[in-house]
Amino acid sequence: MAETAIPEVLPDTVQEQQDKPRSDLEPGFLVICWNDPVNFMDYVTHVFQRVFGWNKSKAQFHMRQVHEQGKSVLARESMEKAEHYVHQLQKYSLHATMELDT
């Protein structure tokens, strides 16, 4: 991801779905955003806010995960919803995919 100012983020980002029993969530597909050296960090934050409706600090937390760890799991969803999110993220030209959660 191309460098821009890295904000101080106090994450409020514990995945909400972790509270639910796994059996309630299956079958599940992970929506993942992968790092690349071309998308600006501010742009990625903006896209996460637009696509998922997140506040800025949550969007920045995931953006930093992408930048520092190479990827971030943005959501765990049904196939249809995961497809929807990947379509939206790719319309912004982010490197996003859906993967079966096992």
Binding site: P37, N39, V86, K91
Partner: protein
Amino acid sequence: MKLLRTTPEQVVFLLGNREKELLLSVLRLYPRIPPAHQQLSKNPERLPDREGGQRLLAESLAEQRAEQQKRLRLLIEDRRRLSATQSGWELALSPGELEWLLQVLNDIRVGSWLAAGSPEDLLGRITERTAPHIWAMEVSGSFQMGLLHMLEGEQPA
């Protein structure tokens, strides 16, 4: 590029002559990302409907590209959107149009990066072949950051 005024319906920017020419030159490059580049999954064999899912994505992105091209043509040709004033050129966009302009600019930026060979280090990769792609990346990126700063309520540097 300067933010002149904002209303709930419209955001109006002022562009200098050179900026306007640069913006139009770079927008004419759209679309730049090859359709085959955009994949639904890194492990498509594990998806229930591998081919159907990829086809849906390709159709959705193709529809978006066609729509964006139509909007771009209108933007470039519509004198009410891009009009000459004494101090330069005024560009008027609705908030929705701002969003698709960001998408278009990022398509150009990412597609140009791919065309340049996806370099990790841009400066080390400037050659006669890659220079036009790197130029397009930098110009589209500059307008993109300008728009983002204005969305945040800041004037771009």
